[in-house]
């Protein structure tokens, strides 16, 4: 039946999934950069090239994410709310509440096992409560964002960190470090503060177990752990949490294709 592509152009990273008849064939992740149209092309090229998929093998492409409209070759654009829901439910069918910590926004969705969304909520107009702050802090600490999760788990004495402005958190981190706070303790404080903000969004919509966390932020074990601590229960994280929207998009594409063929 060929391939279906799901492409999620986020503000930080762009992610793609190629779905074959038997499931996921390959995935691709790259920084989004400024020119989103080009990035979208790149994601497609990479998936095609690596797996020897020719243009007419691609039966359908569904785009999603912040820059979805830049995927000019997409057959359809879907919101990342729907795509995350679809993606998560295919991987973790028991999940009813999904927390997506993306770069600019945090979203909370209530879903069912078919990936239908029942309700959702988005964070507000200030980047202070989303994943971006992780990148900002990682940069000033001169560590990779991939490392901060592990580091924060090593903390012995979490500091109180003020998450307010995502931009000014940088200077706060700098002055904390110069006061002699260790990077580990600082990160633990950051994770705690961010988790508390995310949690109040989560609580607003009401939670039904199981709860999953996805998006780039879910790759950060320190953040997941901090949220688990606040909530007092385990949070499921799929193997590649940043890919769920792309996966969901691909699955939606596949379902549409099936319907088309059937009718």
């Amino acid at each position: 039946m060929g391939y279906v592509l799901g492409i999620d152009i986020g503000s930080a990273y762009s992610k793609g999934i190629a779905l074959g008849d038997q499931g996921t064939v390959d995935s691709s992740v790259c920084p989004s950069g400024g020119d989103l149209k080009l990035t979208a092309e790149r994601v497609k090229e990479e998936l095609s090239f690596r797996n020897g998929i020719s243009a007419h093998d691609i039966m359908r492409t569904v785009a999603t994410g912040y820059g979805a409209r830049s995927v000019i070759f997409a057959d359809e654009v879907r919101s990342d709310v729907a795509c995350h829901a679809k993606g998560v439910s295919s991987l973790l069918p028991t999940v009813k509440t999904v927390i997506d910590v993306g770069d600019l926004y945090t979203k909370v969705l209530r879903i069912d096992r078919n990936g239908g969304v029942h309700n959702f909520l988005l964070s507000g107009k200030c980047a202070g409560g989303s994943g971006r702050i992780l990148q900002v802090i990682a940069r000033v600490l001169r560590v990779k964002v991939e490392e901060i999760g592990e580091m924060s788990l090593k903390s012995k004495k979490r500091v109180d960190f003020n998450t307010g402005c995502a931009v000014f958190s940088e200077s706060e981190a700098i002055s904390r470090i110069s006061e002699g706070v260790t990077k580990e303790d600082l990160l633990a404080g950051l994770h705690r503060a961010l988790a508390a903000q995310i949690n109040s969004l989560v609580e607003r919509i009401g939670v039904e177990p199981d709860v999953a966390m996805v998006g780039g932020g879910a790759r950060d074990l320190g953040l997941v752990k901090a949220l688990e601590e606040i909530r007092g229960h385990a949070i499921l994280v799929p193997a590649e949490p940043h890919l769920t929207a792309a996966l969901g998009a691909a699955i939606i594409g596949r379902e549409q294709l099936k319907k088309k063929i059937e009718s």
Binding site: S11, G34, D35, L36, K37, L38, Y66, G67, L104, K125, C126, A127, R132, G164, C165, A166, V167, F168, S171, I174, S175, I177, S178
Partner: protein, 280 residues
């Protein structure tokens, strides 16, 4: 023996030192690193070298700025508001309104004919209203801070920046750039957006002439133009807008000493040795 007075302004991005006797003998601007203390030392050292004096020759040191509490060798601290007011009043006797555009905050100060502060407002909660906004955007556009002003002046159609949050605006600007909006238009738009925010804040003071702009933002001609349009007032800028705070601090120190001499009170000044403070 001539007495020297030093003012040190530890800002969020730059640390400035001014050394005075009758007039300015030396001024230095250096970056503020994460380790305030050591840098304060280094910049001070450099200034002393430039003035060709030893630290023991300095009678009084006043620190100011965002990192003012981290200057171990200062005799007294003042806020930037008091220092800017003092410095500007001495440079511009006509000055009534001062707008200080820094990286961490923006302040507006109203002073009377004698140079006394009569009112002030400041913004430091959200980066969107401060010089940092420009830094972040310039960075996203790959333009140096000293170029942004001139570049934006070339624009005829300033772009509308619809996001307030610095982070969202950065994203917006990057996207517009990719769509082919000229950098100069984007920068002009960014300046307008910041000028609007500053204007709203400053207006709470009921702006009066003459308006002086200081701080790093005063080096940005594009921002100044946008600001002066918004305010509806002409804007004056000191020759070196970065050091007016440090200058004012030094002046305040000088006044304290003079007053003490007049009233013959003993000043408790610290031992004038600049120690090297090591931080791992």
């Amino acid at each position: 023996m001539t007495s020297y007075f030093a003012g040190i302004d530890v800002g969020s991005t730059m640390t400035k030192v001014v050394i005075l006797n009758q007039g300015i003998v030396a001024s230095v601007i250096g970056p503020t690193g994460p380790e305030h203390r050591r840098l304060a030392n280094r910049v001070m050292d450099e200034a002393l070298n430039k003035a060709q004096i030893g630290f023991e020759a300095v009678t009084y040191v006043v620190s100011t700025g965002y990192g003012r509490i981290n200057v171990p060798f200062a005799d007294k601290q003042f806020t930037e508001i008091a220092c800017q007011a003092r410095g500007i009043a001495s440079l511009f006797p006509r000055a009534r309104t001062i707008i200080d555009i820094g990286g961490q905050d923006v302040k507006a100060i109203k002073i009377d004919a004698t140079g006394r502060t009569i009112d002030f407002v400041m913004n430091d909660k959200c980066a969107a209203g401060t010089g940092r906004f420009i830094e972040v955007i310039a960075d996203a556009l790959g333009v140096g801070l000293d170029e942004v002003g001139e570049l934006s002046l070339q624009s005829h159609h300033p772009a509308k920046i619809s996001n307030i949050c610095t982070i969202y605006a950065q994203q917006e600007v990057a996207a517009s750039l990719a769509e082919g909006v000229p950098i100069s238009d984007l920068l002009a738009g960014v300046h307008q957006s910041l000028a609007e925010r500053i204007n709203t804040m400053v207006n709470r003071l009921r702006v009066e002439d003459a308006v002086i702009v200081t701080g790093g933002g005063a080096k940005n001609r594009g921002l100044l133009k946008a600001l002066s349009e918004q305010l509806g007032h002409e804007i004056l800028v000191p020759e070196e807008p970065l050091i007016t705070g440090a200058f004012g601090a030094a002046l305040l120190g000088k006044e304290i000493v003079e007053k003490a001499r007049q009233t013959r009170t003993l000043l408790q000044t610290k031992q004038r040795i600049l120690e090297e403070i090591e931080i791992q």
